[in-house]
Subunit: 204 residues, 2 copies
DNA sequence: GGAGTCATGTAACAAGTTACATGATTCG
DNA sequence: CGAATCATGTAACTTGTTACATGACTCC
């Protein structure tokens, strides 16, 4: 579940679409970030769903020989989709290379750790912006979408808040040479690449 | 990245272990929930890493013919691991069947939606407890682990808070017929599968 | 002696990605 | 006319899971 089949059925709830449309919606639509799939999986999935009668395929030869297949949900398809959603849902998985790397923050150079956190902050700020943009769009306006937007905002904000607190609590720039800086520098470590980065040692 | 190879290298940072040990640690250790892998991928990965010289394999025939292979990180393995962590990290993916389902909350029966939210709340409360337990354990005590625990707690709490607010804001049981029931369960619902569940209509 | 755990490995399968191959239409 | 976009599909490959096959050791 949340396999490509379900993704396709979901995309066809409410409107008909081509495989291309579905892919586009996954990239830019109201569920971006939540799900994804490639053409290589979408087209075979649509073909099979049509075989099974969960969707219908209507060929539309725009002019001469364009060849475009518009898919639409059948009553059985809709029922199947909703029934599956009501069934037992698989556990959610949060694969985060960032958090994985942070586990070894103590073994990585400090600047690198700081850069990673900054990058993560930027990425999440961007996600927040995306949600705000989606909220404003005419489509993606439903009770469910609203719930999901709110959820995303709540957790992203909490995560950002945490990252910012931790980030600013890390000792500021460690200047290698005798640099005169007017900031809150602590020490100048010439240690190159395997300098441990104490992300702990927080006033927290 | 965050493929099984990296997982194995990560598991061998700090101590040596067998394939079995690694699997156990993924299930119960300080990174549970963050990552996972099966025996079917761990053993081949270890064999290949040993071939490449990133880890060493030492056979330990406990007594007679037990056969047990203890792996340990080499200097190159350690360097490779840390270098990879410093390189560009892939985007994080948050595959959440729950949120996916919530997108269609408006098309699902209300009780079902409420049940899903309750289930999610329970699951997340459990995760919070797990983190607290890990915090208390002797292993999994490092600057990085502390950072990750804190992050998990911050986002889980925010998510839980959001879910609780929304959950309590949903109108309470909508009884279809004149059913006099003092519990929350109703088998044989007159409106079968497509009763819309307005998760919106919030005072929020 | 049987249950449970320790321990390793392989083969079949599942699901999806990347890259390729193809071609029409539209817009500047 | 060339670039971008629309549009479909397939074949090879990657990655990992499930299920199976095997066997020792430990504790009751």
């Amino acid at each position: 579940m949340i396999d490509v089949r379900m993704l396709c059925l979901a995309a066809l709830m409410g409107r008909e679409a081509t495989g291309y449309d579905i892919k586009k919606e996954l990239e830019q639509g109201s569920r971006t970030g939540l799900v994804d799939a490639s053409f290589g999986s979408i087209y075979p999935a649509l073909a099979r769903l049509a075989e099974e009668g969960l969707i219908t395929a209507r060929s539309e030869g725009g002019r001469g020989r364009s060849g475009k297949t518009v898919y639409a949900l059948t009553a059985e398809g809709r029922a199947h989709f909703l029934k599956t959603l009501c069934g037992p849902l698989p556990e959610e998985k949060h694969r985060s290379p960032f958090l994985f790397a942070m586990l070894f923050a103590g073994e990585l150079p400090r600047e690198r750790v700081r850069a990673m956190i900054d990058q993560q902050i930027a990425a999440w700020e961007h996600k927040l912006d995306s949600i705000a943009a989606m909220r404003a769009e005419p489509d993606g306006q439903s009770a469910g979408a609203d719930f999901v937007y709110g959820f995303g905002e709540a957790t992203l904000k909490a995560g950002l808040d945490y990252l910012r607190r931790r980030r600013s609590a890390i000792e500021t720039d460690t200047r290698p040479a005798g640099v005169t800086a007017n900031d809150t520098r602590r020490e100048r470590t010439p240690a190159p690449d395997n300098e441990p980065a104490a992300i702990a040692a927080m006033p927290d």
